[in-house]
Structures are given as structure tokens and as C-alpha cells.
């Protein structure tokens, strides 16, 4: 493991379009970048047994999640030739239509950026201890299951 520091990933509440725009703008000074790839996870209004999901309330085992995310970051930097990488995940109640996951990778060329971004998102879904509680319009809820 390198000594690259642990990064802040968890954000209370939704990830705003403005936050995403500001993140993109910050990269204009890094002129060796030729390709950005961005994944945005948005809360979907699934219908479950006739009831519509209004929001997802995300909780995490933060201490463990930060360790796992650190390992994903290190492994992805080792495997792909990337200039930079940013990962943000929401905690708390996120309404349908709002953004809860923001993965942003930059590289000299597109292939590295595409491949790295996909791998990070897949690993987050599978390995990071986060749980989503789907809240319906009548305030009842069900624990989300990733497909």
C-alpha cells in the first residue's frame, strides 16, 4: 500500500449538480488529461408491490467502508494509468431523482478512463458496506437489494 492519504467519500445528503460541475471545472489546470469518465448513480422511483419508492436512506459502516474504498482506489491506480480519481457517496435520505453516487476518473486517453470507471462502480456495489432503505410514499420502507 502506498501512503496516499484516505479521501473523504461520504457526503450527508444528495450530490448536487453544482458540486459535480465544480469538480469538473477544477481539472482545467491539469492539461495532461485527455479523457474524463463520470458515473452518476441516481435514486430511482421503483414500484414495489404497488408502492412507489420516494427516497432511499443510506447508512454505512463508515470505518470499514473507508478502508475498502482506500483499497479500491489503490488497486485501480495500480491497474490503470490514471491522472486522478474521485469517489463520493451519499449518506442519509436521498429523494428519487437525486444523485447518490459520483465516480469521476481522468486519464490521458479514453480507454483507461472508461475501463477504470466501470471497475470502480462495480467494486463499490459489491464490496463497500452501504445499505439503502427504500422509503415509500406512506413512510413504510424495505431494505434495498442490489441486482
Amino acid at each position: 500500500m502506498s501512503d496516499r492519504k484516505k479521501h473523504k467519500v461520504f457526503i450527508e445528503g444528495a450530490i448536487t449538480p453544482q458540486f459535480i460541475a465544480d469538480s469538473i471545472a477544477k481539472h482545467s489546470t491539469k492539461k495532461n488529461i485527455g479523457a474524463h469518465d463520470i458515473f452518476l448513480g441516481q435514486v430511482r422511483n421503483d414500484m414495489i408491490n404497488g408502492k412507489e419508492v420516494r427516497a432511499i436512506d443510506y447508512t454505512t459502516y463508515q470505518e470499514m467502508a473507508e478502508d475498502v474504498l482506500h483499497e479500491i482506489r489503490e488497486a485501480t491506480f495500480a491497474k490503470f494509468d490514471l491522472t486522478c480519481m474521485h469517489i463520493y457517496h451519499s449518506v442519509g435520505k436521498i429523494n428519487a431523482g437525486e444523485i447518490s453516487l459520483f465516480v469521476f476518473v481522468s486519464s490521458a486517453h479514453r480507454k483507461m478512463a472508461f475501463d477504470a470507471c466501470r471497475e470502480i462502480v462495480e467494486r463499490i456495489k459489491k464490496e463497500v458496506p452501504v445499505w439503502g432503505k427504500e422509503i415509500f410514499e406512506d413512510e413504510t420502507y424495505e431494505w434495498k437489494q442490489n441486482t
Binding site: Y61, E63, K125, G132, K133, N146
Partner: protein
């Protein structure tokens, strides 16, 4: 000997607690047995253990001061 057991997601709903201290348990199989005896529906949550923040799949010996987290299937993103 004290083992700190943390509950997340549906497991915290089932137990009604986020943390319980266990004193009479030697390994993760033993802990699973005690948990399922106390909270019948916990087994249906398909939880896995993390011992001191590392997922453990095989039966693992526990030591004083260990933290064991009960992790239902993840659903982030």
C-alpha cells in the same frame, strides 16, 4: 472476554440495536449460533461477518476486544 458486535441495515432492525457486547463466545460459528437462537429471523438476512473491519468467510477464532460486524448484503450506489 468481551466481543463488540455491531449491527447494520436489516440486522439492526431485527435486533433493535446497533451494538451488543458478548462475553461467552469463542469463534464466529459460535457467535452465529447465539445470534440466531436469540433473533430467529436474523438468519434470513443472509448476513456475513466482518472481524475488525475485514470480511471473514470461514469460522474464525475471536479474541478479547474484537469487533465483529453483522453485515447484510450491501446495497450502495
Amino acid at each position: 472476554m468481551t466481543i463488540n458486535v455491531l449491527f447494520f441495515g436489516v440486522a439492526a432492525d431485527i435486533t433493535g440495536k446497533s451494538k451488543i457486547e458478548f462475553t461467552d463466545v469463542n469463534d464466529t460459528d459460535g457467535l452465529r449460533k447465539q445470534l440466531v437462537e436469540k433473533y430467529n429471523t436474523l438468519e434470513k438476512s443472509h448476513f456475513i461477518f466482518a472481524l475488525n473491519k475485514q470480511v471473514v468467510k470461514e469460522n474464525t477464532k475471536l479474541s478479547d476486544g474484537d469487533t465483529v460486524a453483522i453485515l447484510p448484503p450491501f446495497s450502495g450506489g
